[in-house]
Symmetry: C2
Subunit: 159 residues, 2 copies
DNA sequence: ATATTAAAGGACAAAAATATCCTTTAATCT
DNA sequence: AGATTAAAGGATATTTTTGTCCTTTAATAT
């Protein structure tokens, strides 16, 4: 019942960089990456509790991550999700791309059909640097990197 | 009818940095800033044609910009919207904040309630630099800057 | 004054994103 | 083999974002 909604049906004060789905995906993978050796698998309930996300919605996202070969899953007792591959070799960019797609990495800031040097929008030249900065960060930050920060207690997946 | 929708009701391959509303807002203000002296006012129809945006939706956004004192408007014949203030002193950050809010500038990348040094998410330290880069760019790029690029023909508002 | 013009505003509609519930499938345990 | 467990998947609901339409308000022109 915000001031905005009252007058204009627009309440954009919540726009973020990533979708919620994407954040849940990243957090879920980070959480599983933090698990100790020998028990590096977690179920939906455990994951969504750990990252404070709605269970059923998280289930959909985990399924999608399985389809993208980022997670693999096992059914039945002691089943759950574990990371497919080496967390040192899985980068945040892969998770973002799996869920939010690659428009953040390639799309035009001002909505032109496509971003190009030939026909640039008015912020193209300045936006490129930011886009590349973001892309570079995500492509060089591995799941292990961030999971370690959580394990040593300097970063958190929820509050 | 994408492959994604077929299987999971998730088709996030379009996530962008800014909302459509925000892009329309920026483009509309840039367009009006490109108008020659003596005729620096444009109507809804002219604007939405120039920036290739849906007219009625654009109307709502222009109203919002008026409420935020970025545009002022005049009704009746030869009415329309003109920039409130000096385009040299209006920065893209103000438009983004008016429409998308300030979460892009202040919010946590991974969805924590609030972004803070005390209780940072696992990408906080790396994300800060990107957020600041983006914020800095938007806070230092004036409407005049970008409008000039359009006027000299090196940038475009539509394709 | 009246007609015309264009923005403001309200109501509503469609699409996308977020979220829940329930059934089915497949793994494990007894 | 049968019971139990947990992911997969389908259907549906809610909220947010995007979009349209129509009436009202206010400015200008005749
Ligand atoms: S054309 Fe707009 S960001 Fe490249
Ligand atoms: S706490 Fe997540 S970006 Fe600062």
């Amino acid at each position: 019942m915000s001031f905005n909604i009252l007058y204009l049906h627009l309440d954009y004060t919540r726009r973020k960089m990533f979708s919620k789905a994407c954040k849940y995906a990243i957090n879920a993978m980070i959480y599983v990456a933090t698990l100790p050796e020998g028990q590096e698998r977690a179920g939906l309930k455990e994951i969504s509790k750990a990252i404070n996300s709605p269970e059923a919605f998280t289930a959909k996202i985990l399924q999608e991550l399985v389809r993208h070969d980022l997670f693999s899953s096992v059914k039945g007792p002691n089943g759950g999700f574990h990371i497919q591959g080496n967390p040192n070799k899985i980068f945040l960019s892969e998770i973002v791309e799996a869920i939010d797609g690659d428009m953040l990495f390639t799309g035009c800031a001002l909505g032109l059909e496509k971003c190009s040097e030939d026909h640039p929008c008015p912020v193209h030249h300045k936006f490129l640097a930011i886009r590349d900065h973001l892309t570079g960060m995500l492509m060089t930050t591995s799941l292990r990197d961030v999971a370690d920060r959580v394990n040593i207690g300097i970063s958190f997946l929820k509050y």
